[in-house]
Symmetry: C2
Subunit: 139 residues, 2 copies
Amino acid sequence: MRIGEIATRTGVEVETVRYYEKAGLLPPPARQTNGYRAYGMAHLERLAFIRHCRALDIPLANIRELTRFMEKPPADCSGINALVDEQLRVVRARLKSLKALEKQLSLLRQRCTEGGRGKCGILEELVAAAHGEACACHG
Amino acid sequence: MRIGEIATRTGVEVETVRYYEKAGLLPPPARQTNGYRAYGMAHLERLAFIRHCRALDIPLANIRELTRFMEKPPADCSGINALVDEQLRVVRARLKSLKALEKQLSLLRQRCTEGGRGKCGILEELVAAAHGEACACHG
DNA sequence: CAAAACCCTGGAGCCGCTCCAGGGTCAAGC
DNA sequence: GCTTGACCCTGGAGCGGCTCCAGGGTTTTG
């Protein structure tokens, strides 16, 4: 299997596949006589694994750790749990701040219709923050 | 006001202030005879404005546009509306995918306790994805 | 047999900072 | 007067996770 095929089969860009190899996530494959990369099923699986983890927004460094776990399973899976828990914590924190963000932005958006002729409620709101006045965002 | 003061007053790092100048967001201030940057109130306001926009996760390019609007207010504020709407759209999209993510991760986390001695449900789940089997994440 | 599609390497660019090396300047304390 | 430490300067590199490009070679298609 050449790089183009493994890429389309996993839904990853060709450049990204090479990047994963360079980053030490995907083991370097054998080469054909012309220098082309020759992948096997193990690579396909590994790449699908990486993609799956990335879909969960797990950082590359953590995926590297997970693959190490896979190759050499630890006695207990407390390391793996910690990793997933950590990821869950990160995601939940991001979720929280994004929710706040959405609220602020929709408040800001409402400002547009207020303020009458020639005045832009949005810009005024943003400038108010610069003056340290109370604003919809920072109380 | 020197760079350290304006930085602490707005809660921005000194390096970041210089970066905003280089990025064309903060106009270059006057210089003291020793070469130190000398900021005035206008800079303080502008920096607070930038920081506020960043707190709303508005990208620097859009902040640049907003400051242009401020310096030269347009007849209508449809450009500004579009900008805020766009930001809102981005945030909502991110929110949606983060919510899905959180669900997948907590499902994954539950797998740990299942599967008995020596088996790691989490790793198995992730590997199942590599095999293209149905998994908690991609159906 | 030419054009298109694929492959290779090495390096730069994206965003929004952050940090570092290698210097200059200045106020306070001994 | 001299050291210490805090502050300031510039220019450039590094982060993550790709993405794109130049400048080549090879294979497939019409």
